[in-house]
Structure formats: structure tokens, C-alpha cells
């Protein structure tokens, strides 16, 4: 049985702060509103033609980069907003672990707020009566339950909110990334509660950026991008797609940054040496930027000096998109002694099979004087993209070497 059904759901939002003119909006307030299918210049589709069904007992992860429409889907599911077009049905008592403290009033005591928040989330007073002790026990604020919550620490505040929401026993549960409340002990309790919910057979929709969480909890994932469903299927198949989108965005971001820094006026005007071109290849004369994990990589660059450079040191770095330095090599340590660098020449760096995990990496080459005090030049413009076969799911870590297992 389908508990959630989305049939080509569209949702339109407005950009900017401009209001409709009173001539348009006042009649709309009193009369039936006509929904236009086209977009105004100030409008955009936050969610476009979204179709999916969720069956009873499914645990589904919804993922996507920022702005993909995840929050809109959550708001649609929790019935805070209604679709512009299309239809959706929800069968069963739904509750959301989102904004669990929204219903709190700071002036009221913890006890009063448990009842208030509970009823706002859709519980009955009798239900709260029954579970009250359990809720307070779970939150760990029993000592202060008769203190106004405005005197609570932010941790106590969110713990109490989470405890109320966690005791709802819903048929459908929406979870946003709220599980990161409280200290280790409380997190363990939350994880325990999640497992209880999972085993109780309730339907769970999880929205998260944390891949390991989705991977460990969900069997199925829905990937959204630009408001559309891009992939819907087993988690293992969807995650590489997600990874690709993130990588693409990282690459664009990085290129933008490189362009920005190029336009900036360089302080270093010595210009004793120039790096003319950097060629990245797989060692077999195939010049490219896209590699797969097991490819060998060769980086070659051409330099031109204006003066003799005495015993320069060349440093080669590979940095991941998020700024993690993955590997670094120094010419003198790597056994290349250069006495003088003069005129035009080529330098080649053989990386071999370095088994970088799929992602976007930035290559940085810098040339220093022999004391390593003053850089002659620094260049970080080249990007390499490492991709993998779709069947392999992402593993955490910088490198993905070929590891074989064996029982002896």
C-alpha cells in the first residue's frame, strides 16, 4: 500500500521582495485564485514534475545538493504548503522531526511546554499524560521541568523539544537533519530511538546531506536536482549520481575561484620565472582532465626563467575540493637536484597510479628559492576530475586503492 504518493507535483515560488500590486492581490484575497501555469519573470519552480510513491514501512532518503528542492518536498509532505499543480496523497498519521522546538513558548515552564508542543505536533492531551514521565526522563531535564524554558540552556531546550517529538509514534515520520542534538549520551539515545522506529515498521522519510547516515538507514533514495527527480532507486545506485552532482558543483566553484584570483593584481612582480603551460596526461600521450581511479597520472609543465635561479626547490601539491591536502612532493626530497634553472625547459612529474578517490582535485605547483623562504611563483589553476564506475559506492577517505580481502 502506498502511504505517500506524489503525482507530477509542481511548486512555484517568488523571488525577491516585490509585492503584487494591490489591484491584483486584493481581488485575489476575496475571490477564487486562478493558478497560472506559466512563470512570471519573478517566479521559479522550486519543485518540477515530481513523481514518487512510498510504500508502508519503507525507509527512504531524499538527497540533493543545496537548492534541489528538498525542503520544499518536506514542507509539501508536512502539509505546510500546497502544490501549485499536481496532486499528492498521504495516508496515515504523519509527524515531522523538523523544528522540534518551534512550538515552545519561552515564558512557560518545561511541563507546560511539553503539553503545548505535544498538542501542536498533533498529540492528544491524554496521550501526553501517559507519556509525560517517559518524555521528561528521555530529555534528561527532569530537575528543571517546572522552570520556564527561557532559563534553559540551548541544549536543554532542544533536547526537550526532541523528546516530545520522538514520543509521537507516528505512522509516517519525516526526519530532517535534527539528530545532532545534545551530547554523546543523548545522541546514543536518539540513535536507539531511531532504531526502535525503524524496527516498529513505520514509514520514514529522511532528508540529509550525511551520506553515511542515508547509506546505513535507507534502502531506497530519491535524488533531487533543480527541483526534479533525477534518480530514484536503491541507495547504492543513487549515491554515485549525487556524488557526481556535488563534484560538478565543486569544480565550477573552484574554477570560479581560480578566475577570481587571476583577475586580482599580483603582488609578486619579480617575474623571475614563468610557468607557461601545464599538461596533464595519463602517461600515454592522452592529454585529459578526467581520470578514473586506477589511471596513472603525469603532470608536465614548461617554465621560462629571466635570470639564473640557484638551486630552486619545486613543490607539487594535490588538494581536494574541500581543501584537504592529499599529497605533496618536494623536488629535492624526491631526489631531483637542480643546480641552476635557466631559459626554457620542461619538467615532468610522474604520479603513477595514485588511486585518488572520486572527486575534484586542484593541482598546485610552486617554485621556491633554496632556503624555502621566498616563492618565485605559485600556480594553482589545473583541476583534475576523478570518476569511478557507477557500481562502486563512495567510500570515505582520500584514496581508494585496490584492496583485496582474504580469510586465511
Amino acid at each position: 500500500m502506498n502511504v505517500i504518493e506524489f503525482n507530477s507535483v509542481y511548486k512555484k515560488f517568488k523571488k525577491g521582495e516585490k509585492f503584487n500590486s494591490i489591484r491584483d492581490s486584493l481581488p485575489n484575497f476575496f475571490r477564487k485564485t486562478i493558478v497560472k501555469n506559466e512563470l512570471d519573470e519573478r517566479e521559479f519552480w522550486a519543485v518540477k514534475n515530481v513523481n514518487f510513491d512510498i510504500k508502508k514501512g519503507d525507509v527512504v532518503g531524499i538527497m540533493g545538493p543545496n537548492g534541489a528542492g528538498k525542503s520544499t518536498i518536506l514542507k509539501l509532505l508536512s502539509r505546510i504548503i500546497v502544490p501549485t499543480k499536481g496532486s499528492m496523497t498521504i495516508n496515515g498519521r504523519l509527524s515531522a522531526l523538523i523544528e522540534v522546538t518551534a512550538g515552545f513558548h519561552p515564558e512557560l515552564t518545561g511541563r507546560e511546554n511539553v503539553y503545548l508542543n505535544g498538542t501542536i505536533l498533533g498529540m492528544r492531551r491524554k496521550e501526553i499524560d501517559e507519556k509525560f514521565d517517559e518524555i521528561v526522563e528521555f530529555s534528561g531535564v527532569s530537575e528543571f521541568i517546572d522552570t520556564p524554558v527561557k532559563r534553559y540552556s540551548s541544549g536543554m531546550y532542544s533536547r526537550l523539544g526532541f523528546s516530545v517529538a520522538a514520543h509521537m509514534d507516528p505512522e509516517i515520520l519525516l526526519v530532517d537533519e535534527v539528530l545532532a542534538v545534545g551530547d554523546m549520551a543523548f545522541q546514543a539515545k536518539c540513535a536507539q530511538k531511531m532504531r526502535e522506529l525503524l524496527s516498529s515498521g513505520s514509514t520514514i522519510v529522511l532528508v540529509s546531506h550525511q551520506l553515511d547516515m542515508i547509506q546505513s538507514l535507507c534502502k531506497r533514495a530519491v535524488l533531487l536536482n533543480h527541483g526534479e527527480v533525477q534518480k530514484d532507486g536503491p541507495v547504492g545506485e543513487v549515491i554515485p549520481h549525487y556524488q557526481n552532482i556535488v563534484n560538478q558543483q565543486n569544480e565550477e566553484e573552484m574554477r570560479r575561484k581560480i578566475n577570481l584570483s587571476e583577475n586580482r593584481v599580483k603582488v609578486d612582480t619579480a617575474g623571475l620565472i614563468d610557468i607557461h603551460k601545464v599538461i596533464i596526461s595519463d602517461g600515454q600521450k592522452n592529454i585529459k582532465n578526467d581520470f578514473s581511479t586506477e589511471d596513472s597520472i603525469v603532470v608536465e609543465f614548461q617554465y621560462e626563467t629571466k635570470k639564473h635561479l640557484e638551486q630552486p626547490i619545486i613543490i607539487f601539491n594535490i588538494t581536494r575540493a574541500d581543501g584537504v591536502l592529499c599529497c605533496s612532493s618536494r623536488s629535492d626530497k624526491a631526489g631531483l637536484k637542480i643546480n641552476t634553472l635557466n631559459g626554457v625547459g620542461n619538467l615532468r612529474i610522474h604520479l603513477g597510479q595514485i588511486f585518488l578517490a572520486p572527486g575534484i582535485y586542484l593541482i598546485k605547483i610552486s617554485i621556491w628559492d633554496k632556503e624555502m623562504i621566498h616563492p618565485y611563483i605559485e600556480r594553482s589553476k589545473e583541476i583534475i576530475r576523478i570518476q569511478t564506475n557507477e557500481s562502486i559506492t563512495q567510500s570515505p577517505g582520500v584514496f581508494m586503492p585496490k584492496i583485496t580481502w582474504e580469510i586465511k
Binding site: 515560488f13 476575496f30 507546560e112 503545548l116 498533533g122
Partner: protein, 261 residues
């Protein structure tokens, strides 16, 4: 709309808790506590007496206790109306975090704020009853009309509250306009004076639905008279129309609240 009202009734526990919240918040950390509920009526009655005195001086007549009692009786429903509208207008925007984050029938918000004011009216009503007994006003069979008139007053106020709370969500000017109208509304409503003092123009004062309800309440409590059938009927019709119109507008716009707040 029928469906929506059924859902509203399903959420009666929430309604109860929100009303309780409004009351608790109002009386928490307030040294005067429940005295607040009668503070505004007392001040209003004092103002009324002052005006009555001035009119008596002009007319060169002694001031009568009956007139003062009439003012006291009419001030309470009037203050209920004013404070209900004032709280209801803000009820959606003031609870914006709830409206944008959690689903529940939105009508609970203006309804609970109106109910909280009804509670204040009940507290002040008890004090007034003691006062009426002291002044030996006496009782009559016509007092049985009182619950009906209060019901009309409540329906009208709630209907208007629904309409204004929704309107204020879309157009924030509503709040200011309402504030000004409420401030001077007392001069357009027969609270400090009787509609009958306008002679043949009395009906103009009674066309104001609140005016006809107030006059009705005054008649049955102080004057021991049955309410005038025409104006009772008018109060009934106007309050029902206002309630239905308020509900219609509110539910028509409800789905757009979260994204327009």
C-alpha cells in the same frame, strides 16, 4: 469549509492548550495577576462616568446611578471585543514560526486568542455581578437572553478576527488601520451613551452590530426589558454573516499562509 471545521474540532486539545498558553503568558511575571482582566474595564468605566458627568452638567441634570450601571454593563462586552480583535489580528503573524513550520488548522490561532479574551470577560463579569448585587439592580426573566447575546457577540468577534488575521498576514497595514478604528470606535458605539439619546436617529447607532448587541445587553440587565426583536434579529443575522464570511475568507486563503507570511 465543512471539512475544515470538522478538522478544527478534532484539534480541540490544541485549542485548549493554546488558550491556556495565551492566558498563562498574559498573567505570568505580572504582579497584578488577574487584576489585569478588570483593569481596562475599570479605566473605561471611569472615563464613561467622567463623560456622563460632563453631559449632566451641560444638561443641568443630576447624574443618575442607572446611567453609570449601564456604562459598566456595556463596557465589559466592548473591552472583550476590542482586546479580542487586537489579539486576533496579530495571532497569525505573531505565531509565524508555527505557521511556517508545523501543520495544524490555522483557525486555532485566532480562535484561541478570542477564547482567552472570553475568559477575561468571564472574570470581569464575576466582579460586575458583585457590583450589580450591591447596587441592588435586581433580576428579571429577560436575563435568559444573555447567553444568546454573548454568543452573537462571540460569533461576530471571531468572524471579524478570522478575516482580519488573514488580511493582516497579507497586508500588514491592516494592523494599523484596525488599531486606529478600535481607538475611536468607542465614540461610534453606544457604550458611554444610550442609543436612545439620538432620538429618531437611534437606528444609525444600532446599525453597528456591536451597538445593537450592547443595547440588548443593557436592556436585559439594567432596564429589565426584553431586547427589541428587530435589533435582536439584526444582531443575529449580522453576526452569522460575519462568522461565515470570516470563515470563508480564512479557509480560502489558508493554504497560502505559510509562503506569504
Amino acid at each position: 469549509m465543512f471539512e475544515s471545521i470538522k478538522e478544527l474540532l478534532k484539534y480541540h486539545d490544541l485549542l485548549y492548550m493554546l488558550t491556556l498558553r495565551d492566558l498563562r503568558v498574559r498573567y505570568k511575571q505580572a504582579a497584578m495577576g488577574f487584576l489585569w482582566a478588570i483593569f481596562m474595564p475599570i479605566i473605561a468605566v471611569c472615563a464613561g462616568i467622567l463623560i456622563k458627568k460632563a453631559m449632566a452638567v451641560v444638561a443641568q441634570q443630576p447624574i443618575d446611578t442607572k446611567g453609570i450601571l449601564s456604562i459598566s454593563v456595556k463596557v465589559l462586552p466592548w473591552t472583550f471585543f476590542v482586546s479580542s480583535i487586537r489579539f486576533a489580528v496579530q495571532s497569525l503573524v505573531g505565531n509565524g514560526t508555527l505557521v511556517t513550520k508545523i501543520y495544524f488548522p490555522r483557525a486555532v490561532l485566532p480562535l484561541s486568542s478570542t477564547l482567552a479574551c472570553l475568559f477575561d470577560l468571564a472574570v470581569a463579569g464575576c466582579v460586575l455581578t458583585v457590583l450589580l448585587v450591591i447596587f441592588n439592580v435586581g433580576v428579571s426573566i429577560y436575563l435568559l437572553w444573555l447567553p444568546l447575546l454573548i454568543l452573537f457577540l462571540f460569533s461576530f468577534t471571531f468572524g471579524l478576527g478570522l478575516l482580519l488575521s488573514a488580511a493582516n498576514l497579507f497586508f500588514r497595514d491592516v494592523k494599523y488601520v484596525v488599531e486606529i478604528i478600535l481607538m475611536f470606535g468607542i465614540f461610534f458605539t453606544p457604550v458611554f451613551y444610550d442609543a436612545s439619546s439620538f432620538g429618531q436617529w437611534k437606528f444609525i447607532m444600532l446599525l453597528n452590530p456591536i451597538g445593537s448587541i450592547l443595547e440588548g445587553i443593557d436592556d436585559i440587565i439594567v432596564n429589565h426589558l426584553a431586547p427589541e426583536p428587530i435589533w435582536l434579529g439584526y444582531a443575529f443575522v449580522s453576526s452569522m454573516v460575519m462568522l461565515l464570511f470570516g470563515l470563508y475568507i480564512f479557509y480560502k486563503n489558508e493554504s497560502a499562509f505559510a509562503e506569504n507570511i
